[in-house]
Symmetry: D2
Subunit: 321 residues, 4 copies
């Protein structure tokens, strides 16, 4: 049993479950409840981690983790887009309660770096109501939820930890709940432009293109935090790794045969160390200066535009209580 498989390199709860089950040869995990629907080409997978065993198994805190998968967002028709928006809104509604009368949306990321601009772009399209409720109450529907929003920038362009800015501003504005939007680095090219993750557990630090050292969650902000994460890039080491996996799979028979026949051959073992997944990832990451490069679909500019619109419309649709 190769324990190191459990150094998950994916942040997706559903993928972690698959890996854990495979490695431990289980069909279910105690403390992990998975539900899934697939209607109108939108697949929604909800993972609830309900006890410490579940936490340990998936190396994720107790909470709800939702993955919404659609067809390529850049090819959706207007109607399909509206369906996706309503599905995302439905899931957000499950996490934002009616007594969360004021929301602050935080658009993380660097608006000048295309695949990292998702957060700020969502903020751009939001229907902001806080100032209206404060200064022009008579013009606003009585059931309007208070919505405010900020785009705090990234450490490299502000010099300030993003979590510090958010903490300062939430202390002042005192929203009932925070929705954090961020772009993520995916483990697979096939997630980009097709999936949206939601969670009530905040943003896991260190994920994505950026270096975010401090978590943005209920522990740090003292109010509930919903995270909406969208894979927009694939890191270069991951993709190289994935390519080698597939190459190896294609040559699997020969390798199996070879391994059987040369089981004790010292040299071949040393060669195949490079084919071993555990060592390989860090070898690749070191060899290339992988962290300085990003892999995106060619249509990334369009994907970011459309995804921002979908997320903003979804959030706008809960603006009445």
């Amino acid at each position: 049993m190769n324990k190191s498989y459990l150094n998950f390199r994916t942040d997706m709860a559903d993928e972690r479950i698959d890996i854990y089950k495979r490695v431990h040869n289980l069909s279910e995990i105690d403390g992990v409840i998975v539900k899934s629907t697939d209607i109108d080409n939108v697949k929604v997978t909800t993972v609830d981690i309900t006890n410490e065993n579940g936490e340990k198994a998936l190396s994720k805190k107790m909470g709800t983790y939702i993955t919404i998968e659609s067809l390529n967002i850049e090819y959706l028709s207007e109607d399909e887009k509206q369906i996706l928006i309503s599905k995302v809104a439905e899931q957000i509604k499950l996490l934002v309660k009616d007594d969360h009368k004021s929301i602050m949306v935080v658009g993380l990321g660097n608006m000048y770096v295309t695949p990292d601009a998702l957060g700020p772009k969502v903020v751009k399209y939001l229907d902001i109501t806080r100032h209206l409720l404060k200064f022009a109450k008579e013009y606003v529907d009585i059931n309007t939820r208070e919505v405010s929003a900020i785009s705090p920038g990234v450490l490299g362009t502000t010099g300030i930890e993003t979590s510090e800015i958010i903490e300062s501003v939430t202390k002042k504005v005192k929203p009932d709940i925070v929705i954090v939007i961020d772009s993520l680095a995916s483990q697979s090219v096939h997630r980009v432009g097709k999936s949206i993750q939601l969670s009530n557990m905040g943003i896991v630090p260190g994920a994505g293109v950026k270096n975010k050292r401090v978590g943005i969650n209920q522990d740090t902000l003292k109010i509930p935090v919903i995270a909406i994460g969208v894979p927009t890039v694939v890191d270069m080491a991951t993709i190289t790794n994935e390519a080698i996996d597939k190459l190896l799979e294609n040559s699997k028979k020969e390798i199996d045969k070879f391994n059987n026949e040369n089981i004790n051959d010292k040299h071949s073992n040393s060669i195949f160390s490079l084919l071993n997944e555990d060592n390989r990832y860090s070898m690749i990451a070191n060899t290339l200066d992988a962290e300085n490069y990003i892999v995106t679909p060619k249509e990334i500019d369009e994907i970011i535009d459309k995804m921002s619109e979908v997320l903003a419309s979804s959030i706008n649709s809960i603006s009445r209580i």
Copy 2:
């Protein structure tokens, strides 16, 4: 003597001096010191208001107000641009002292509205050092000043008073001094793309395209605040007003003659009420819904780009103590 002339509609200290002197027929104002240089096509006018009389005369608080005027920024050669940068840097250096070891730059304005995007664009081009000094001190020159920056957005897109965001973040980051960048509404089309104002007195609320109710200055932030303001738009009522002024001037002789001959004519007086500057401005502003429209030079996109570069380069040049 028409007292109402002193309802200055200009925010430029130098223009207020001209008006005050003219109205009161003075050659100097007690408590107001003006110095001016004009070298290499860059004119620098420094107004120091030094006592209460100066304060009253100009309706501005004691402090230093600097206006830098250049040729049209979109036509400057590379060399002329470098000269302008060095002149602006020189003036900033007079306001930022050596013991201001940490600066926070605040780029006011809405980055999605071309003539209001100046502040956020300056922030984009800044050399940020705070995080390097904190996390990678060994790679940074020992004399590096700590520079951080935020673009807080505008009330309409955040729902939060800009001053509240700035106050929260400065409390956390604790810079020695804040530099606020903002676009201004000019009183004259001939200022746009040609002038930069600096002051150590913060931002005067209500100026510019936006509604900023709360001042951003030493009183509210409890640390020194330098304001850099750049005229990028002219409000529509002002321009209409200015046009009528010029039309009238062109017809001045006839009008003078007329006035002399019809001095007691009730009807003509009532007509000319519309030509009277005091009533006219508000009549125009009411007639047109002037506040919803902006006047800019055709080249505003380019002006904003170049002006941002000039300001950012100027601030970057003081990044060593």
Copy 3:
């Protein structure tokens, strides 16, 4: 009768009719047929000029001129936007015949100048099919109309007359019909963001922000040309003029009275020359260097975005024959 009123300064056929009728005290004009509908807050006015008398009366060539007016486009709901799109599509369908099997869309304007970027932005959102029909016919519906598009830029950024580029490319591509999109200078602030003009007579040279010397129409391109024009700016002289009109209207009674009583007064006549609409416009235009400035609504960035989407969606909806 003031003949000079007929130096129309508006390009809108419906406005010219109003002026002509008023000046000549007519209720109908021979050779001019006007139809108008106003449903779902979208008003469609169709002016057909059917003979030489109509041509002379309106100083416009025989042809169809359509004005579509909606509420402020930046405040339309998703549903209202869809209604507007369908109405615009309906009017385009009346001008593009079924046997126009191939369309070339030309997006005029400078994409780097916000209010002039409409044409290029429409092109960005179009469903282009010409290359698919040529290189991947098997993947395309059999009734797909051939759509190609170019954004030829403006004289100032290409050094080439826009009409020359269009002529060269249409000669090569040989579309059955050309649709030209352009931003216009409106005579009234109240048209901007609210109206769309269509015509089968091409683009009237010299209109709008730009200097377009050569017409883009059936005469020059030898194929039918549909022009879609959207007011995005108001020229500064016009707005000043309009402001003075309103000021005068507000003071109308006094002026009427005054005129009655001073009818032969030489001086007052000379004063009022400045209030006379004919002289005044050119006086204003000369006084201000008005052509270097533009007036736009504050929300112009958003108006251009939404208007581009509406026009592109309308054109996309006729992409099947």
Copy 4:
């Protein structure tokens, strides 16, 4: 001798020479002259292919191929940038002769896809003179070269072959020489943001992110064509390939040893087929749908901005004869 090594996958003349020499164990190639300078951190390599042997050896037509390499463009100081500009200008001057009195610059690429926007962005920053020489000759220096420019878009957004648009417009404008700017797919991540290629042989079809079927060169346009190409992306298959190369190199000793000891082992040979460069590239390209993804440095937005400025300034500096 592995002949297939000569299926060069690099478009860089200097890299092809290295490969050819290595494979054929030569120190010089008949018909290929290489000169190189490296001053002020800018390396200029000029490859002249002078006869048919040179053509065959490098699979490139007779002509001049220049590679300019600098430090990372996003970290150049203002002074270093000016040096780079002057070096690029110097090389352009060697290709554009004094009797080329009129230049047309063609900015290839899709301005809405960040790494493909280089061409259009260069055009944006050019000093255009053709219209001035035509309509305002009195305001222009007598030695001004005629400069015009177009950004023809890409097949996917116009539906028209780019070469068709260029051909049509050059026939009309009749420039003496065309300069084509394009972004390229590099074979190595280490070229992106650091190198510029020039050639008097036009654009090699099929290179880069786009599918350009028809060449843009003297054969097709009937006038001299200078191509300026800048690597802005790395294709995913290349990068994976490069990663495996490096991994293998790191494990070289073991593999060499292994190969020596198991020289006739059937199975090991079949395994190592996956490590063989020739098969591997196409295996990778097939396994991943590599052509839909791009690899860029994280700073690609900034690289494109700075590179456009460098190229435009270089071209602007030859605008006088």
